[in-house]
């Protein structure tokens, strides 16, 4: 039958996955970028399977359910290394094992919903408009006058002053907690005018109690290198270099199993990353205490190479900026593009602890 033939063809493709990860499992999820059998999508709209990994905070339950519902149908959920606390979510498969096992489970889940769409998972949130708008107002679209009311369920943006002297509309958005480019556990309340951030409030998840893949001071050079590579995989992905991110993630999994060839690969990877010009393009972005994003990338690359080649455990540095207000101050007045690049390059306490060469 044509449909089953199509389903088999689709099931052989790399499974598009949107990953929602707690702080404790974020690194392990980044390591999945090294596996060609799945593809970590940047948005839930491109995914078929939702991977929920690690400890999701109870307060993020609604966000998790919303991301779940944003996946196009038919969708499946795979839960990985969940400690049993946090919001419950119906899953097609629950895995507690290695990365290899979860990738297999994701592939099987995808194949199963393709073969039988009735196994796909239904919406978790009620099918309700944010505001009742049908039939309201003179045109029945919920609005009134020029700018008033809630046309199609939401109000329109209103103006606010700007440094440029043109008081145009502001967008008040909450980015996160599961926005792919942001570091894990980070939620930003932003006011945007155009693409420039006018106001930022940072909300960080309290570091959860963790028992595996723990962020903390890594004791061994291998653990330090692996953590650095997890960061590098995500950072390269955000800067648009997905294939190189795959290489970094693959290297991280090699380090995990104690592959001796990893030290030379690290050198090569660092050279490749430098050759892409990413360090040049980040120059002058997000300077803290005289060091910009480019400097921070360079330090981190050096730390990875030092850990793998020389067996040096990188010295932990004080995270910068020191508090949320300072972090917000760093982001105000820059474009969203630069803000994301800045956040990705930073060491954020409670998110990932610093690891920089001594």
């Amino acid at each position: 039958m044509a449909v089953s033939w199509l389903a088999r063809l689709a099931a052989d493709a790399p499974t598009p996955v949107f990953a929602v990860a707690g702080v404790d499992a974020w690194g392990a999820v980044q390591e999945l970028r090294g596996d060609p059998r799945i593809r970590l999508a940047a948005t839930p709209r491109h995914a078929a399977v939702l991977l929920v990994a690690g400890t999701i905070l109870a307060g993020h339950g609604e966000a998790l359910r919303r991301v779940h519902d944003q996946l196009p149908r038919p969708r499946a959920v795979v839960v990985w290394r969940a400690p049993g606390t946090g919001p419950a979510i119906p899953a097609l498969a629950v895995v507690d094992g290695s990365a290899d096992e979860v990738v297999s489970a994701v592939g099987r889940a995808h194949a199963s919903i393709l073969a039988d769409p009735t196994r796909a998972q239904a919406d978790l949130l009620p099918d309700e408009e944010p505001t009742e708008w049908r039939g309201v107002g003179p045109f029945g679209q919920g609005g009134e006058g020029m700018m008033g009311g809630t046309p199609y369920g939401r109000p329109m943006a209103m103006t606010g002053d700007d440094r440029d002297g043109l008081a145009l509309d502001q967008l008040h958005l909450t980015l996160g907690p599961f926005l792919d480019p942001l570091p894990p556990g980070l939620t930003l309340d932003v006011t945007l005018q155009g693409e420039v951030l006018q106001d930022v409030a940072v909300d960080r998840a309290a570091p959860p109690v963790v028992d595996h893949a723990a962020p903390g001071d890594p004791a061994t050079p291998a653990a330090a290198a692996r953590r650095g590579l997890h960061w590098l995989a995500h950072a390269l992905h955000v800067e648009g270099l997905d294939a190189l991110a795959g290489r970094a993630a693959h290297l991280a999994s090699q380090v995990a199993v104690g592959d001796v060839a990893a030290d030379r690969s690290a050198d090569r990877l660092a050279r490749l990353v430098t050759a892409t010009g990413v360090l040049r393009s980040l120059r002058g972005v997000g300077a803290v205490d005289g060091a910009d994003a480019s400097d921070r990338w360079r330090q981190r690359l050096a730390a990875i190479v030092a850990a793998l080649r020389d067996g040096v455990v990188p010295r932990a540095l004080e995270p910068a900026p020191s508090d949320d207000a300072a972090l917000a101050g760093l982001l105000v007045g820059v474009t969203l593009t630069d803000a994301v690049s800045t956040l990705v390059s930073l060491e954020l306490p409670g998110v990932l602890r610093p690891a920089v060469a001594a």
Partner: protein, 204 residues
């Protein structure tokens, strides 16, 4: 009716219809690109009239101009996407009468006046002729267009800039921004500008 006639009427009706829809749609983005559609159809008619350079160049020029048009329309119009249907007209009757009178008057001229019958030669090298004309007979027009465009650029920059050598354009008219971090002072900019310049020279 030849194929050219059919094509002409298709393009003509499309140009008129999209031109009319410009003022009948609520979304400013749609309005801008409907105007573009009108231009594209006129460009196609110019090609039918054997003015192939003017026709194709019109497509190109008007596209980029309408992109800019759309940016500004959305930037300065209330309810730019037309989420609430709206009627933002004044003197509609006068405007309609003026429109009809214009059309009728010009249409009458088109029908009544006896224009010389000198059709363009289909084999003529019209593009080459235009190039020679610009460098020869119309050289002054060409060069003064350059000066005019320069003046336009300078005026546009002076008028639109928030600050510049003629002082802060916002002075006394707008309250200062609320967030201290978002406050952007002219003196910061002067420093920033110099930095940009050095970067440019240093890099090359």
């Amino acid at each position: 009716m030849t194929g050219v006639d059919v094509a002409f009427w298709v393009f003509a009706l499309a140009a008129v219809w999209s031109g009319y829809r410009v003022f009948r749609t609520d979304s400013m983005v749609r309005a801008s690109f409907l105007l573009l559609a009108s231009f594209l159809n006129v460009g196609a008619i110019l090609v039918l009239l054997l003015a192939e350079y003017l026709g194709t160049a019109l497509l190109f020029m008007m596209t980029v101009e309408m992109v800019v048009m759309a940016l500004f329309m959305v930037m300065f119009m209330m309810n730019p996407a037309g989420l609430n249907p709206m009627e933002m007209v004044h003197q509609p009757r006068l405007a309609a009468v003026a429109g009809v009178v214009t059309t009728a008057g010009l249409g009458l001229v088109a029908v009544v006046v006896d224009f010389p019958d000198a059709p363009v030669d289909p084999a003529a090298e019209t593009i080459r002729a235009l190039g020679t004309e610009l460098l020869g007979g119309s050289m002054l027009v060409f060069e003064s267009a350059g000066v005019t465009l320069l003046a336009t650029m300078v005026c546009a920059v002076i008028l639109s800039a928030a600050r510049g050598r003629y002082g802060d354009g916002t002075a006394g008219s707008v309250a200062p921004p609320l967030e201290p971090g978002g406050d952007h002072r002219p003196e910061d900019d002067l420093v920033g500008d110099g930095g940009g310049g050095h970067h440019h020279h240093g890099g090359h």
